[in-house]
């Protein structure tokens, strides 16, 4: 039986990871991704859940592999720290381009072209889960310190490979989905009040794509080109 204190600690470590400044760029991208379907409450809720699921799967998977002794925590951490952040930059730019309809539309020239473009610009909510997984694995120094240092120690002492890492994952997603819901419902309210929901939706979608591209450029500059943004 895991104590309430341990459960609370795991959740709190997750929240602490999420509200620290270093994953800010990916968090803003996630907020806009989840909140972009301003007109569809269920879709927003569902992408929030899927995003949380993606993050949780990543942390539980890592915890299981490490605590079962299949992978050394230092080794896997250094591998992820070295490569994932570099991969994330280009991926974010490409996803942003798909969200804006700059990519994907040209893949098809037949009659389905219109639909492909429409689908691409709206995007399936499955993206939220994939992005959750990818963001969770792209450790920044703070999340690496709190996950590999604090959370894994907690999991090992309580022999909890599933519950505590899962709560950590939920904790890292909570602040993000809170702001996503807030923005989605506020935008929805503005849209319906002024009878401009379609326009508001278009703007939110465009801004989401732009945020992904900007976050991607930031990740490229910081992690590939090694430009320091911390003074």
């Amino acid at each position: 039986m895991i104590s309430w204190l341990a459960l609370g600690s795991a959740l709190w470590l997750g929240i602490l990871t999420s509200i620290s400044p270093c994953p800010l760029a990916s968090n803003i991208a996630a907020i806009s991704l989840i909140g972009r379907r301003v007109g569809q409450t269920r879709q927003v809720l569902l992408s929030g859940v899927l995003y949380t699921l993606g993050r949780t799967v990543a942390y539980v998977g890592l915890a299981v592999l490490i605590l079962a002794g299949l992978l050394g925590s230092g080794e896997i951490a250094r591998f992820l720290l070295r490569y994932l952040n570099q991969i994330l930059g280009p991926v974010l730019i490409l996803v942003g381009m798909v969200l804006l309809g700059l990519l994907g539309a040209s893949l098809s020239f037949n009659l389905a072209g219109q639909r492909v473009q429409e689908r691409a610009s709206k995007g399936s909510i499955g993206w939220a889960a994939v992005m959750g997984l990818l963001f969770a694995l792209s450790f920044c120094p703070v999340s690496a310190g709190l996950f590999f240092g604090a959370l894994l120690t907690l999991s090992a002492t309580h022999q909890s490979r599933l519950m505590l890492p899962a709560l950590f994952g939920i904790g890292t997603a909570l602040p993000v989905i809170f702001f996503a819901f807030l923005i989605a419902f506020a935008a929805n309210r503005v849209g319906t009040t002024f009878n401009r929901l379609t326009q508001v939706e278009w703007w939110v979608r465009t801004i989401t794509g732009a945020i992904f591209i900007l976050a991607g450029i930031y990740y490229c500059l910081a992690h590939i080109y090694g430009i320091s943004f911390v003074v």
């Binding site: 620290s20 925590s73 730019i93 381009m97 120094p141 709190l146 590999f148 240092g149 120690t153 090694g226």
Partner: protein
Amino acid sequence: MTTRKAVTHLLLGFVLISVGFAIGKETALNGARKTATASEVAAVTQPTGSDKVIVYYMHQTFRCVTCNQIEAMTADLIRTSFSKQLAEGRLEWKRVNFQENEELARRYDVASSSVVVVRLRGGKEVAHQTLDKVWTLVGKRDEFAAYVGNAIRAYTTQEAP
């Protein structure tokens, strides 16, 4: 439509250049890492003073606000509480990029930026401790000082027989 095309090409070009740059950088780093680790290993196993404690701040290439805070708090603690040992050469304070120093990272199993305390006796490493808890204590100045300070003190007060 033409601006859309221009933006698309510009972004795709940036992505391609970035991917190429990353691959090139990793290939070059792999070559450099082999020579760098060899010299660092020599430095660790053959120090100038035979009995001493080394405090490492291990950091990533990518720095962050919290990481800099941990580094500053540790440096501060050493300056205020261990200045005598530092002046006498019984304590050494080093900052190392663990992503560029694979050998040290593997030796101390560094998974993230952290403080590592190493005890050397007769020029040989006899004990080390990786201080993982610095991440949860970063907001609490006193607890942080007690945690890191006690770890350093435990090694510096162990006199040679």
